[in-house]
């Protein structure tokens, strides 16, 4: 994995962590 992708991935999971903290008790999945 190149450096650019690693940075994108790190940004993604940092944002996800912050978002998930706010998501308690909300429905998150949508199976088609």
């Amino acid at each position: 994995m190149n450096e650019e992708l690693r940075e994108k991935e790190a940004r993604l999971f940092q944002s996800l962590k912050e978002a998930l903290e706010k998501s308690k008790a909300l429905t998150r999945s949508c199976l088609a």
Binding site: M1, K22, A32
Partner: protein, 348 residues
């Protein structure tokens, strides 16, 4: 990570062969199928990505694999696949039309440690059979009964359109009688063969009316009555609307899971029919981190026509598959436009 788990899921269509030919199916044709060995390598590919997320970002994961088709019970190696995925430590679920689940099959499902089986049921008998074929209702109910008899958690998923939108009360009673754990309602996506039912799709006001009716069953004591539609959550929303840079609920596309089709094609959602790679050819970790389509689905500023200026964006984003289906019907390849059936837009 301390706090809420990242419930990442893979919805895997092991085959597109099916013993039914439903009028509203989002599938329109068939593709080649990956073999058992290829599937195991693909599972390893995904497992490696998830392990990286846990070790490098301390994500608290609860990943699950949901196998479907076509009709998944047409795969002769289904139980070998389930065993492999279970042995990798993942939760496994099935999504089926239920018609091939006799008592022996239900017993095998139980022994395989399947978490739950989602069965498609689309109305009372005449309605269901008009959509899925004569006699299918009876066989589906027998399949559900066999699962319940074996102690396998069964739940019902119903595709809502004008044909069945007035049957909620009867279907909730039926679900109670059958002993399933839940009955969930999803909107029709006019894609694949489902394009033929476009005129039966609910309008915005009809969606609002339907979900208002569904809210009456919020505290139903015998069976959970729910919807996985992002708009349904908005209909039941009270209190402060959570805001976040990244979506935290609602549509799963690009955030909480992916679909893999029988030939290995990866899509944000099966109903979107929008390939972003093939699991046989890419590193899943790199795809999840780098796909421009997945990133567009995650960024508010890339949306237009409604959702980008809505207070509900972080917990909804509408149904991206319905947005895309309507855009395609107008000749546009656009998955970031408005959900045309949304009655809840709330300006920032």
């Amino acid at each position: 990570m301390k706090g809420t788990a990242y419930d990442f899921f893979v919805q895997w269509h092991l085959t597109e062969r099916c013993n039914l030919r439903c009028r509203h199916c989002y599938q329109a044709g068939t593709v080649s199928e990956m073999g058992y060995e290829e599937i195991c390598r693909a599972v390893d590919n995904i497992r490696s990505a998830i392990q990286s997320w846990v070790t490098e970002y301390e994500m608290q994961m609860s990943p699950s694999f949901h196998f479907t088709g076509g009709e998944p019970f047409l795969r002769k190696d289904l139980f070998e696949i389930l065993r492999y995925v279970r042995d990798c430590g993942f939760s496994v679920s099935l999504m089926s039309n239920g018609t091939l689940i006799d008592s022996n099959m239900a017993c095998r499902i139980k022994e395989a440690g399947v978490n739950d089986v989602q069965i498609s049921l689309d109305g009372i008998e005449a309605t269901h059979d008009s959509l899925r074929g004569r006699g299918s209702y009876t066989r589906t109910l027998q399949g559900i009964g066999n699962l319940v008899d074996q102690g396998v958690e069964a739940n019902i998923n119903l595709t809502v359109c004008r044909i069945n939108a007035s049957q909620t009360a009867r279907l909730v009673r039926l679900a109670e009688e059958l002993g399933v754990s839940a009955i969930a309602f999803s909107r029709l996506v006019p894609t694949g063969r489902g394009k033929g039912l476009s005129d039966e799709a609910l309008t915005g006001p009809e969606v609002a009316s339907f979900y208002k009716e569904l809210r009456k069953y919020k505290d139903n004591p015998k069976v959970v009555v729910t919807s996985r539609d992002p708009l349904a959550a908005i209909a039941g929303m009270d209190g402060e609307i959570p805001q976040a840079e990244m979506p935290i609920a609602g549509c799963a596309a690009g955030i909480f899971g992916v679909t893999i089709t029988a030939d290995g094609t990866i899509m944000p959602c099966r109903r979107m029919d929008l390939p972003v790679g093939n699991i046989k050819e890419v590193s899943f970790r790199e795809l999840w981190a780098g796909s421009s389509v997945l990133w567009a689905l995650r960024r508010r500023e890339d949306y237009h026509g409604g959702c980008e200026s809505c207070r509900y964006w972080a917990i909804c984003r509408g149904c991206r598959a319905i947005a895309l289906a309507y855009a395609r019907a107008s000749g546009h390849e656009d998955y970031l436009g408005p959900d045309p059936q949304c009655p809840y837009h709330c300006p920032l």
